[in-house]
């Protein structure tokens, strides 16, 4: 099974500053999807950004962008101009494009605190 590793259990950032959350994964597949999900205290997982492995260009969504390094199997999330509402748990997730793609594999999460 694929594994997803988030090595930063907790991170903090000053409001309006930039923070980067790390994620690495292990796979032997060449085609797959990567996601970052935000989970506020309500527990609802909210999609932040996604990346198709076959695309070399890094995905961006407003203040959120990724640094996708396929060879290194690294998928970090950069949050620019951090806002108080960004405070939450962030989960990195992997989804295969093969027949096993029913499963998302999640990391253990990074708790982000935004300091006013």
């Amino acid at each position: 099974a694929q594994t997803v590793t988030q090595s930063q259990p907790e991170m903090s950032v000053q409001e309006a500053e930039t923070v980067t959350l790390s994620c690495t994964y292990d796979t032997s597949e060449s085609d797959y999807y990567l996601f970052w999900y935000k989970q506020p205290p309500s527990r609802q997982m909210i999609l932040v950004i996604r990346q198709e492995a076959y695309k070399q260009q890094n995905a961006t969504e407003n203040r959120f962008s990724v640094n996708f390094q396929k060879a290194a199997k690294s998928f970090s999330l950069k949050i620019s101009d951090s806002q108080l509402g960004d405070a939450a748990m962030y989960f990195c997730a992997y989804r295969s494009s093969s027949n096993t793609g029913n499963q998302f594999y999640f990391g253990t999460g990074t708790s982000l605190t935004v300091i006013p």
């Binding site: 527990r43 999609l47 996604r50 989804r95 494009s97 029913n102 999640f106």
Partner: protein, 115 residues
Amino acid sequence: GAGVSQSPRYKVAKRGQDVALRCDPISGHVSLFWYQQALGQGPEFLTYFQNEAQLDKSGLPSDRFFAERPEGSVSTLKIQRTQQEDSAVYLCASSLTQGFGNTIYFGEGSWLTVV
């Protein structure tokens, strides 16, 4: 509805009780997933439905766990003879089609505490 709805939001069960957790996916969504999230962990896959067919149940931890989606819309996750290790948030998610790149939408989860 506008989003994935789960009920009950909170459930306290005595060890040995049976529980049933309900998921109403977004209307028209073909794919439905159940995940289990223990405290301090990421969600872990339990099972997957495409319409009414349960195509993957490889993540169900024991035969005490059973899921169904008889009419291809609402799904129920049943846990028999609950144990303390079953305490977790149970997340339901749905997506419009089974395409692997499709976005899946999560509900707010059902928090189960077994005492």
